[in-house]
């Protein structure tokens, strides 16, 4: 190949090697921010020696620690994404340099990077099930360790020295990086096998690598509490609920196999221009295709994440807007429904802003299944968030404990544990959690603010979010089984006997849950309590609608007694007229036939929003 042609190939690869990472960074930062932030929320990293030693005490613990260290920067998605892209670029460029791969084929060294990206970004709901600390960054860091192994072990060429070194490095590597430590010595042995060393110089390292591969997991088993079956996958992300090994581990194994193939590339020598060009194009296609096809692109999932994030930021106005935006985008799609999480968060936000009576039924309802094979319980996603904001701290704490048991403590669980401890007035406990958050980069400020509240609990009454929770704690403590699911539990909580010292806010929330239950008896009880305690200047629209509907059905004489707006009466008449015209139909048909102004009424909810599965 002449110089000119070589330059041509070089230009393509060089451009792609810059453009692809930058494009990836942009996509991650601007399109996947909530997902990256969620990964960070579900992790925890603190600068603490005791905590560090805890990780150091187990094989592959250091890898997890490093993974968590980098994960914390996902708090700022652009920064976390930048670090991610830099690490990926590092893996590829180091692979090229270490194995002296011609720049013509440099794009091939980006294949593991594409796999790692695809692996992470394909998680979707799986992020609620992965129970591996630092899982997002650990595979890349493990890959880098394997690469480092080759660099180090290659320096020792004498067969005996090489054997001894490979044994020491291999056992240490397993302890530091788990399966990536094993991969390091295997790749190194492959590298040696394709080098120009003597026969013994090639056989002994290979024998050493095999010995390490077999013995290291067994040797360290004695100092661990793992099952033997997990010893050869240590360091590769795992999950609860028995997600298939192929899903969780195969992509990582493929990436490591690609690394092991890098030294083999030497045997191919010079290839023709045509083949080079094809390899270039194929590489770019594959590099784009892997993440593109594996990327989890479910809109409901993304909106759920955005809504949760808005709740975390106490941006209550934003929550229903996000819901509404998605609903509008699916206006013409009768099969679309919101997930229960979206409905629950929307309701919560409306309650927090006092708009539930006027806007609560202004959104489509539904219970769309999660678009995943691995269903996640609603309580695991938002159980503690709902429990906390609805003033059921025991329920909130219960789900935090389950979460932290299954997946380890996270920034979120520490945060909510602190807040529930503050609600309970348990200053020692709140202090314990705040001490943890004090040692983080991104939650330190929040912890300091909360510490002020912990010192002076009287501030809670005027500080968000406690100001809107304390009035909900007016009921006597009860013991309730919560196995039936998050929403049902909360609904039952507010559907119980009215507290003796109920507050206007409690009565308002209880009325909203009563109206959603379609139970007229419960509605009337709550309705009059609401009128008494809130003494509204004007009754909210949907409460009027419910009262009008039930009064019409029950003919209880309240149609004349209550001050209904003309608009409510007109809407009811229009609705009944349309309903009798359309005849019986299911929820999907009704959604298409009724105009938005009639669809977003309590009348419509009462008659047509059925078969909603609560979680």
């Amino acid at each position: 190949m002449n110089q000119k042609e070589e330059n041509k190939f070089s230009v393509i690869t060089t451009k792609a090697r810059w453009v692809l990472p930058v494009a990836l960074w942009a996509v991650l930062s601007f399109c996947s921010g909530p997902f990256l932030a969620k990964v960070e929320e579900r992790s925890f990293f603190q600068f603490d020696l005791f905590w560090f030693y805890d990780f150091l005490g187990q094989p592959a613990g250091l890898l997890s620690w490093c993974g968590l260290f980098f994960t914390q920067f996902l708090h700022l998605p652009w920064l976390g994404a930048l670090i991610w892209v830099l690490l990926l670029t590092l893996t590829a460029e180091l692979t090229r340099i270490v194995f002296r791969i011609s720049s013509k084929y440099a794009l091939l060294t980006y294949l593991p990077a594409a796999i790692f990206t695809g692996y992470n970004m394909s998680m979707g709901y799986l992020i609620y099930l992965v129970n591996h600390p630092g899982f997002f960054f650990a595979p890349v860091l493990g890959y880098l360790w394997a690469l480092l192994s080759v660099v180090v072990l290659r320096r020792f060429t004498k067969p005996a020295t090489s054997l001894i070194l490979i044994l020491i490095w291999g056992f240490a590597g397993y302890y530091i990086a788990g399966v990536y430590g094993l991969a390091g010595v295997i790749v190194s042995a492959v590298d040696t096998a394709f080098s120009d060393r003597s026969r013994m110089g090639r056989i002994l390292p290979a024998a050493g690598a095999v010995a390490v591969f077999i013995l290291a997991p067994i040797l360290f088993l004695g100092s661990t509490t793992y099952c033997l079956s997990t010893a050869w996958t240590l360091g590769i992300p795992d999950s609860i609920h028995g997600i298939s090994l192929a899903r969780m581990q195969l992509p990582i194994v493929i990436a490591l196999v690609l690394l092991a193939l890098a030294p083999v590339s030497r045997i191919f020598g010079e290839l023709s221009d045509k083949i080079c060009l094809r390899i270039q194009i194929a590489s770019i296609v594959v590099l784009l295709a892997i993440p593109a096809f594996s990327w989890y692109k479910d809109r409901n999932f993304k909106t759920e994440l955005e809504m949760i994030q808005a709740v975390e930021e106490l941006d209550w106005e934003k929550v229903p807007k996000l819901f509404d935006q998605l609903a509008q985008d699916h206006e013409s799609d009768p099969s679309w429904q919101p997930t229960r999480i979206m409905v629950a968060l929307k309701d919560l936000a409306l309650i927090k802003t006092g708009q539930e009576g006027n806007l609560g039924f202004g959104f489509d309802d539904g219970s769309m299944q999660q678009n995943t094979d691995n269903k996640v319980q609603m309580s695991m996603q938002v159980g503690w968030i709902l429990g906390f904001h609805y003033g059921i701290p025991g329920f909130c704490q219960r789900w935090i404990y389950e979460e932290s048991m299954l997946f380890g403590w996270s920034n979120m669980t520490f945060k909510y544990s602190t807040m529930t401890a503050l609600l309970f007035g348990n200053t020692e406990l709140a202090d314990k959690y705040l001490t943890m958050l004090d040692k983080t980069i991104f939650y330190r400020k929040w912890a300091r603010e909360q510490r002020k509240l912990n010192r002076d609990r009287s501030l809670l009454a005027t500080t968000a979010p406690y100001d809107l929770i304390l009035p909900l704690l007016c009921y006597d403590d009860v013991v309730l089984a919560d196995q039936e699911g998050c929403e049902t539990f909360i609904k039952r909580h507010f559907g119980g006997p009215s507290p003796e010292n109920s507050t206007p806010l409690y009565d308002r929330v209880a009325l909203y849950f009563a109206i959603k239950s379609k139970d007229p008896t419960l509605f009337w009880t709550r309705f009059f309590l609401y009128l008494e305690s809130n003494n509204p200047h004007k009754i909210d629209r949907y409460y009027q609608e419910a009262a009008y509907l039930y009064s019409s059905i029950q003919k209880n004489g309240l149609l004349e007694a209550l001050p209904f707006d003309d608009q409510v009466k007109d809407l009811y008449n229009s609705f009944t007229e349309s309903a009798s015209k359309f005849g019986p139909m299911n929820m999907e048909e009704a959604k298409m036939k009724f105009p938005a102004n009639l669809r977003h009424t309590f009348f419509y909810y009462y008659y047509y929003v059925n078969n909603i599965k609560l979680f």
Binding site: D48, S239, G242, I243, E402, S404, K432, D477, V478, V479
Partner: protein
């Protein structure tokens, strides 16, 4: 720069060549330290009592003295070297002096405090279960043993060694015969379940559930002289409080007592009155009496029983009972009420008799059978010699005290308590004098004084041991994984 040098020079002058600050400003108060080891009584064979000074300051110096031995330690975290500690604590009384440099660069010398070293030794090993603070999930449980003379802690067995993602296993209720690890047991529930027993050093796995009994064995008590184990049978449920410090409510809707005969591998019923919720058996020191607690509940046995019981939970007041026992013939006397806790609007649980047979320590709370998850559960102690009792106020805290264990010489009490934060159970020790009075409790020493604050798991079921467990975790795991539980036979009562 000049300024810095001057300050350094002044500082150097205020600290003597021994490292102890001079020209100090005395303070009347005792320094606040964590864990609080001031004025406690400790055994001579305990690990260094490392602590953290809780006073605000720029620099810290602590002087620990025992006779002519002295350790000068700088820093907020006071970690006493093991060798030095061994020498210091030989002298019977340990002095602690704390110096803190304040914002004005003055050294404050706090009022010296002391630690008394008792002549009564403590058993050198303890074991406990490390359990996450969770409600239902139990992915990660381990039984661990700790050498009390230093900081060495080892896993005895962990459920992660046998369980899979699909099949979880719970481990609980480790227990020893006469503080010896050659005869011990613990239960494995669900996956690969059974009662794992070490009998004369050999492993066995038994299924104590029979067609005639309620469940496998739960809370055990080894007979002191014969090869029997008294156990409870429980059908346990738990539920969540909506807005209470009491996070959980745990109750048994049915519970009985059984006797497991090791020699014959048989299970017989001790008490199974369908209206009585018998629980927590514990032998007297001579093995001729079994103490237990019970509450009479006459509700229906239908589907709603559990829910009704949760609603009525605050009315459950367990009393203390005993039954006489003739070990050679395995004959039982009638149940005898020992303490009517209900009459005092209380509920008594976890009775445990001291090795000399004189004292019985139990938990007392407002209601229920599971004191650990209540805000307040205190200790009550009975003098079995003269029939008196008292609330052990010198130990009780504002939070729950629960499981407790007597040392083999009966001089030390180890107990689990939530006194530090109301949620995470920690281990504390206290010395008992000849009059049955306890000294100020002290926390299990840890290498890092912040351990209790940062550790997010709870300690559970602490038990003393005279020796370490010799069977390795992998031996336990391999045995449990590969062995099916041998079913125990049911032995009917005479005339049944």
């Amino acid at each position: 720069m000049k300024h810095c040098i001057t300050i350094s020079a002044i500082l150097a002058l205020t600290v003597s060549c021994t490292g102890i600050p001079k020209n100090t400003v005395p303070s009347d108060s005792v320094p606040s330290i964590f864990p609080d080891y001031t004025d406690v009584v400790i055994p001579a064979n305990i690990a260094p009592l490392n602590f953290k000074i809780e006073e605000k300051g720029k620099k810290y110096v602590t002087v620990i003295t025992g006779g002519s031995e002295r350790a000068v330690i700088s820093g907020q975290k006071v970690r006493i070297p093991q060798r030095k500690w061994e020498k210091i604590k030989k002298r019977g009384l340990i002095g602690i002096e704390v110096f803190v440099m304040n914002d004005k660069d003055q050294w404050i010398s706090y009022r010296p405090t002391s630690i008394s070293v008792s002549d009564d030794e403590i058993d050198p090993y303890i074991s406990y279960r490390i359990i996450p603070v969770a409600v239902e999930a139990y992915q990660e449980l381990s039984i661990r043993q700790r050498n009390l003379t230093d900081f060495d802690e080892k896993v005895v067995f962990a459920n992660t060694m046998i369980q899979t993602n699909a099949d979880g296993a719970c481990i609980n209720c480790h227990s020893y015969k006469d503080y010896s690890t050659d005869n011990m047991l613990f239960h494995v529930r669900q996956f690969k379940g059974g009662t794992v027993m070490v009998l004369d050093g050999k492993l066995h796995k038994i299924n104590m559930k029979t067609d005639s009994t309620l469940s496998a064995g739960v809370y055990p008590s080894w007979h002191p002289t014969h090869e029997y184990i008294a156990l409870s049978n429980n059908r346990t449920h738990q539920s969540v409080h909506s807005a209470s410090h009491d996070k959980l409510e745990v109750l048994d809707d049915i519970s009985d007592l059984i006797l497991y005969d090791i020699k014959t591998n048989t299970v017989s019923v001790i008490e199974n009155d369908s209206c009585e919720l018998e629980n927590y058996p514990n032998w007297s020191a001579d093995g001729r009496k079994l103490y237990y607690v019970s509450y009479r509940y006459e509700g229906d046995y239908g589907d709603k029983r559990k829910n009704e019981m949760f609603l009525a939970r605050e009315t459950f007041k367990f009393n203390l009972y005993s039954k006489s026992f003739e070990p050679d013939t395995k004959t039982w006397g009638p149940a005898r009420l020992e303490f009517d806790a209900a009459a005092r609007d209380s509920s008594i649980t976890w009775p445990r008799v001291s090795p000399d047979g004189r004292w019985l320590l139990a938990c007392i709370s407002t209601h229920g059978v599971f004191p650990l998850d209540q805000i307040v559960s205190d200790f009550i102690m009975f003098d079995l010699k003269n029939g008196t009792y008292r609330y052990v106020d010198e130990i009780n805290s504002q939070y729950a005290e629960s499981f407790h264990s007597w040392s083999s010489n009966g001089k030390w009490l180890m107990f689990s308590t939530r006194r530090e934060d109301g949620v995470h159970t920690r281990l504390y020790f206290s010395h008992m004098d000849e009059n049955g009075r306890f000294s100020k409790p002290f926390a299990l020493p840890q290498h890092d004084p912040d351990f209790n604050r940062e550790f997010l798991y709870a300690f559970n079921i602490p038990e003393f041991m005279k020796e370490p467990i010799h069977i390795t975790p992998r031996q336990f795991a391999s045995f449990i994984s590969s062995t099916d539980a041998i079913p125990a036979k049911y032995e009917s009562k005479r005339g049944e």
